[in-house]
Point group: none
Chain length 249, copies 2
Amino acid sequence: MLKEERQQLIINEVDLHNRVLLTDLAEKLDVSVDTVRRDVKELDAGSKLRKVHGGAVSLGYTHTAARSSNIYALNEKMAIAEKAVSMLKEGAVIFIDGGTTCLEMARMIPPKLKLTCFTFSLPVALQLAGMPHVDLIFIGGRISPESMISNGAYTIQRLAEVRFDYAFLGTGYVDALHGLTEFDWDVVQLKKAVIRASKKAVLLCISEKLNSQHRFKTCDIHEINTMITELSPENNLLNLFRNQDLRLM
Amino acid sequence: MLKEERQQLIINEVDLHNRVLLTDLAEKLDVSVDTVRRDVKELDAGSKLRKVHGGAVSLGYTHTAARSSNIYALNEKMAIAEKAVSMLKEGAVIFIDGGTTCLEMARMIPPKLKLTCFTFSLPVALQLAGMPHVDLIFIGGRISPESMISNGAYTIQRLAEVRFDYAFLGTGYVDALHGLTEFDWDVVQLKKAVIRASKKAVLLCISEKLNSQHRFKTCDIHEINTMITELSPENNLLNLFRNQDLRLM
DNA sequence: TCGACACTTGCAGTTTTTTGCAAGAAAAAG
DNA sequence: CTTTTTCTTGCAAAAAACTGCAAGTGTCGA
């Protein structure tokens, strides 16, 4: 077998599976691991793939890692945000949760729309503060450094004093059977308070989170009025969420 | 499983759920917690996520605001901030006002110093939220878009419920005779409330503002305990402020 | 055809990387 | 303040990578 031919096969294999082990390649091509190693090293030098300890990965594969400098799954989140913004009516009193999806939504609020927005997320507040027609009220309290939101008993008390037309919420995990869950107990208490304070709760959630769960439960699915994903409402992935007194969007 | 592959999965999980525990990752990936810890540490070093005690959080949340390039008289403000920071003692409960000088001060807080900080300024809060040893409490309310601080009756009420060891304040205008004055009546009410809530008030003020005044009065000079300018305390420009029961710094 | 030469391939020994474990330190929780 | 969890550090075993070397292969010109 020619070296050239072998290297082409290696590239094919890598592109096909995104990642391969050197030992697998050696077995498949019936050459020694050293040979494969040398081939992979050359291909790496020629930018045909990326060599890593124990194997090789395709360039596209690692490229997704570079994207994380921005926001994960930004396109999906923008699609969700667009749908969410379309629900907004002039003069509404709404709440916007923290999290990147909700931040995207805040960004997309039409500049001319008059709104009263509550939030406890610093990034969301910063975004909304620049909008002249938005009346922005920050719900204070102890700021949790990881999520940049206020949280704790004080914040929950403040939430008991208000009532929103709509609350736009994110969640860590969501499952048709187990509802909305989080791994953080404090966050659950906070989200419960938000849901109590809102006439209608709208969940913004990318489809990748569907059917995942964690230890602490925020609420059941039927306590949510509308669930927005980046998918079409007819998508099969949403089947489990039908007939739950839930509007899909 | 390749290390590369594993790290990619960790990034996905973190970006997806915003926050994950090391132990959960270890279980999911079927490796020891130590390995996950090392991976997360590497990814943190590569700015793919942020490591926190017991887990990792996504960067989407926590991009700390870079200093906007052109702050007026930055060097002077940094000199003031440095003096202000030198007053801080371990465990103190302080308030930090909005404004660029106070923001500079927030930036300069030593990373290891344990503090409880109150503020109603979004930029200051964002700055402080990145400091692990600072217990940060945001005083909520309606956000005034020009200054990015909460203001109004609600905020003033909240201020009535707390008591600071030190309040670090800015002011629009200051004069030995007329005291601290502002252009904006609402701001005056707010600053009054801050001074009432603090045992000691520290004024941060560049010398350029000395001997200027405006319509609405916050307080007299003697209600301030310490005044910090970028000048040496012996400087002649400060002569009018001596013998006012005021410490110059 | 022969031999010089460059290139490739596999092997063995050494070095580096990865991984899990354990003990003490540090940090969070109660 | 005490208990529990997490972090750090050093260590050792295993896996992988690198290095030098020798054997094999093919090319080219005399």
